[in-house]
C-alpha cells in the first residue's frame, strides 16, 4: 500500500466524517436540548436531497438547489415540530421512537407519491467536477474537497453560534435547566422550534451535498441515521464538539478499516476470501469502536458528567 493511496483514503475518511457531522449535529442538539429521540432525522436528509434534485432539475443551478434543500428541510422540520414533536416532549422515549418511526413511513411513502419510485438525477455542477492535483501527485475529486471544506465551515459556524450568540446561550441554558430558562422569560417553545428547524436544515444540507454523488432515492436517509446515532453515542449525547470528534473518528475508522483489513488478511489468506472476510469485519469496526469508547467512557467522549 503506497503512501499516496493512504493519504487519499484519509481524505475520504475525513469527507465521510464531516458529512456525518452535519447529520449528527442536529440529532445531538435535539436530543441534548429537548431530550427527544428523533428517528425521522433521516427523512429530513432525504427531503433535502429531493428538494435539491427537484430545484436543480428545474433551474439548473446547484447553489439554488442547496438553498432549496436548506429551506425545505428547515420548513419540514419546523412543521413536524409544531404538529407532532411538540406533543412528545413529556412522553417517554418509547412513545417518541414510535411516533418518529411513523414519521419515517409517512415521509417515505409521501415522497414516493410525489416523485415516483425511480431514483432522481442530481449531479455535480461543472465548476466542481473532476479531480484536482494535490501536492505529492495525489489526484482527488474537487467536489469531495469542497465537501470537507463546507463541513468544517459549518462546524466552525456552529461553535460560534453556540458559544458567542444569544441563541447559543439559550440553547446551552435549555440543555442545563429548561424550567429555569422558561422562568427567566425565554419563550422555550419557540426556542425548541428553532433548534429543531436548525438541526433539520443541517440534515437537509447533508442530504443535498451527499445525494449529489450518491443516489437520490426513497429510504436513503436511514443507513446514514444509524451511523449518526453511533456518532452521537461515541461523542457524548448533546455535545457538538463530541459530534464532530465522533463523526471524524467514525468516518476514518470506517474508511481505513475497509481498506486496511482486507490487505492485512491477504498476508495469510487467498485474495478472494481475504476480501470477503476483511470487508465483513470492517463493517463491524465502528460498532467495536463504539463499544470500546463506552467501556472506557460510558457517557461518550464529551458526555456530561451527570
Amino acid at each position: 500500500m503506497s503512501l499516496i493511496l493512504l493519504i487519499e483514503q484519509v481524505l475520504n475518511g475525513l469527507q465521510l466524517g464531516v458529512m456525518l457531522f452535519l447529520m449528527a449535529a442536529g440529532l445531538t442538539l435535539v436530543f441534548g436540548v429537548m431530550g427527544l429521540i428523533n428517528l425521522a432525522h433521516g427523512s429530513l436528509y432525504m427531503i433535502g436531497a429531493f428538494a435539491a434534485a427537484a430545484v436543480a432539475g428545474a433551474t439548473g443551478s446547484f447553489l439554488l438547489a442547496l438553498v432549496a434543500a436548506l429551506a425545505a428541510a428547515a420548513a419540514a422540520g419546523a412543521i413536524v415540530e409544531l404538529v407532532v414533536i411538540r406533543r412528545l416532549y413529556d412522553r417517554d422515549h418509547l412513545d417518541q421512537v414510535l411516533a418518529t418511526f411513523a414519521l419515517i413511513l409517512i415521509f417515505s411513502e409521501g415522497t414516493r407519491y410525489i416523485f415516483g419510485s425511480f431514483p432522481l438525477y442530481l449531479s455535480i455542477p461543472d465548476y466542481l467536477s473532476g479531480p484536482v492535483s494535490l501536492p505529492g501527485g495525489i489526484q482527488y475529486p474537487l467536489y469531495r474537497l469542497t465537501l470537507i471544506g463546507i463541513g468544517l465551515a459549518v462546524a466552525v459556524g456552529l461553535f460560534l453560534l453556540i458559544s458567542r450568540t444569544r441563541l447559543g446561550v439559550q440553547i446551552r441554558a435549555g440543555e442545563a435547566d429548561r424550567e429555569m430558562v422558561a422562568a427567566l422569560g425565554v419563550d422555550i417553545s419557540k426556542l425548541y422550534t428553532i433548534v429543531f428547524a436548525l438541526g433539520a436544515a443541517l440534515a437537509g444540507l447533508a442530504g443535498a451535498l451527499v445525494g449529489t454523488i450518491q443516489s437520490v432515492q426513497v429510504g436513503m436517509g436511514e443507513p446514514v441515521l444509524i451511523l449518526a446515532f453511533v456518532v452521537i453515542v461515541i461523542g457524548g449525547i448533546g455535545s457538538i464538539k463530541g459530534a464532530l470528534i465522533g463523526a471524524l473518528l467514525v468516518g476514518l475508522t470506517d474508511t481505513l478499516g475497509g481498506v486496511l483489513l482486507p490487505e492485512l488478511f491477504k498476508l495469510f489468506m487467498d485474495a478472494s476470501s481475504a476480501s470477503s472476510t476483511g470487508s465483513a469485519l470492517a463493517s463491524m469496526l465502528i460498532y467495536l469502536l463504539m463499544a470500546a469508547v463506552l467501556f472506557w467512557k460510558p457517557k461518550g467522549l464529551f458526555g456530561g458528567a451527570a
Binding site: 414516493r112 443516489s215 432515492q217 481498506v259
Partner: protein, 382 residues
C-alpha cells in the same frame, strides 16, 4: 402516476374480490408477489406493468391476477404466498424480484403443487440440485449476465480487470460468474458492504491497482452512486457490468456519467423482431416511459403463461407443464427456449449506454454469448 396507482390498486382490490369474477367457468388464478414499495420498488413496478400489459393485450378473460406487495421482506413474502396458496387457491405464482425472497417462497410453493414462473430472480440453488418440475425461470439464471461480461472482457482484450460486488450471495455469484469465462488476470477483487453508497475508497484502490478495466455488479442505488463517483474521480478505465446498473429506470439518475459504458443484457429495446417493437411501443403508450429489461421479463412471463393456457389447464398439471416447457410464445428477445432445468437458453448481448434526445438508453453493439444456458443444469434431476 397517482391515477395509475389508484387504478392499479382498484384493479388489485377488484380482482381479489370473488364477486368481480367474470362468470366464466374456473378462471385461472395467478398470484403475483412483487416489490411495489421501498427502495427496490422500481423493479417490481416494471415487472407488474409488463406482465399486466401482456394480459390486457391478450384479451384473455379467464385469467385473474392477484397482486400483492412484498416490501422486499422475505417474511412478508412467505405470509402472502401461504395466503395465496391456501386461501385464494392460486394455480400459478410469479413476480418475485430478489433471490433471497425467491428462496423463501418458491420451494414451498412448488411443493404444494403450484406452478411458479420467475420473472427475475434466478438463484443457482433453484437451477441446480434444488430445481423443480413446476419451477420455470423466464429471465435468466443469476450468473448469466456476469458470464457474458467475462466473455466480453476477453473479446475486448482486457487482461487485468479489477472486479467488485457487494458482499452477499448474489454478489459472490456475480464475481464467480465473471471469473468462469474470463481468461485474463485479476488486478484486484473487492467485496463492498451491501447497500454502501460511498465508493471513494474502492475507486482509490482501482486507481492504485494498475488495472486495465473494471467489472462491477452493484444493482440499484449502489450502481448510481458508484458510476457518478467513478466518473468524477478522473479514473479513466473502461467499465463493464451486467444490465442491472444500466436499466431504463436508473439510467436517468446516473446521467452523463454512464454514457458509453458497456453492459450485458438478454434484452434491449432495439432487438429487431415484431414482438419487441410492438412491446416497446405499446409499453411507452400505456405507461409514458420506456420499458426496462424487467418490464420485458414481466411481459414475456405473461406471454409464456398465456401460451400454455391455450393448450392446457393448470388443473391438468402434466399437460400444463409440457405446454410451459415448449415455450411456444413469441418472446421480446427473439429465440427463447428452456434448458433441461427450466431456465432460459438465450442470446446475451453487449449494450452501450447512449443518449437519445433527453433520454439515456442502451443500444446493442454485439453478442457476448449465443444460445447460452447455465452450468447448473447438469446438476438438476427432475
Amino acid at each position: 402516476m397517482k391515477t395509475r396507482l389508484l387504478c392499479a390498486a382498484a384493479t388489485a382490490l377488484a380482482l381479489t374480490t370473488p364477486a368481480f369474477a367474470d362468470g366464466h367457468a374456473d378462471p385461472v388464478r395467478v398470484g403475483m408477489i412483487t416489490t411495489l414499495s421501498g427502495g427496490g420498488a422500481g423493479l417490481g413496478i416494471d415487472v407488474r406493468d409488463g406482465f399486466m400489459l401482456a394480459i390486457e393485450q391478450s384479451g384473455a378473460e379467464n385469467v385473474e391476477v392477484i397482486i400483492e406487495d412484498d416490501q422486499r421482506r422475505p417474511d412478508l413474502a412467505v405470509q402472502l404466498s401461504d395466503r395465496m396458496i391456501q386461501a385464494e387457491d392460486v394455480d400459478v405464482m410469479t413476480g418475485i424480484i430478489w433471490s433471497n425472497l425467491a428462496m423463501a417462497v418458491v420451494p414451498s410453493a412448488v411443493n404444494q403443487g403450484v406452478f411458479y414462473l420467475s420473472p427475475n430472480a434466478g438463484p443457482s440453488q433453484l437451477a441446480g440440485r434444488g430445481c423443480h418440475e413446476n419451477y420455470f425461470n423466464v429471465a435468466w439464471q443469476n450468473d448469466n449476465l456476469h458470464e457474458a461480461a467475462g466473455a466480453h472482457a476477453n473479446a475486448a482484450g482486457y487482461s487485468n480487470t479489477f472486479i467488485l460486488a457487494p458482499n452477499y450471495p448474489a454478489g459472490q455469484d456475480a464475481l464467480t460468474g465473471f471469473k468462469r469465462l474470463y481468461e485474463g488476470e485479476l488486478a484486484g477483487e473487492l467485496f463492498t458492504e451491501l447497500g454502501a453508497t460511498d465508493y471513494a475508497a474502492e475507486i482509490a484502490q482501482i486507481r492504485a491497482s494498475g488495472a486495465d478495466s473494471v467489472f462491477f455488479f452493484l444493482p440499484g442505488g449502489m450502481g448510481i452512486s458508484f458510476l457518478k463517483q467513478y466518473a468524477d474521480s478522473g479514473v479513466d478505465l473502461p467499465v463493464v457490468g451486467p444490465a442491472f446498473s444500466f436499466d431504463q429506470g436508473i439510467l436517468q439518475a446516473v446521467g452523463d456519467a454512464a454514457l458509453g459504458v458497456v453492459n450485458t443484457s438478454q434484452w434491449n429495446k432495439d432487438i429487431e423482431n415484431e414482438t419487441n417493437a410492438a412491446f416497446v411501443e405499446s409499453f411507452e403508450e400505456a405507461y409514458g416511459r420506456l420499458p426496462s429489461l424487467y418490464a420485458s421479463q414481466g411481459f414475456d412471463t405473461a406471454n409464456l403463461l398465456l401460451s400454455a393456457l391455450e393448450v392446457a389447464d393448470p388443473a391438468d398439471a402434466d399437460a400444463f407443464r409440457e405446454a410451459l416447457r415448449a415455450a411456444d410464445f413469441s418472446s421480446t428477445r427473439g429465440d427463447f427456449s428452456f434448458n433441461t432445468n427450466h431456465h432460459p437458453v438465450q442470446d446475451i448481448y453487449v449494450r452501450e449506454v447512449i443518449q437519445e434526445g433527453d433520454v439515456f438508453t442502451n443500444r446493442i453493439i454485439g453478442t457476448a454469448l449465443s444460445d447460452h444456458g447455465d452450468v447448473y443444469a447438469a446438476e438438476c434431476e427432475m
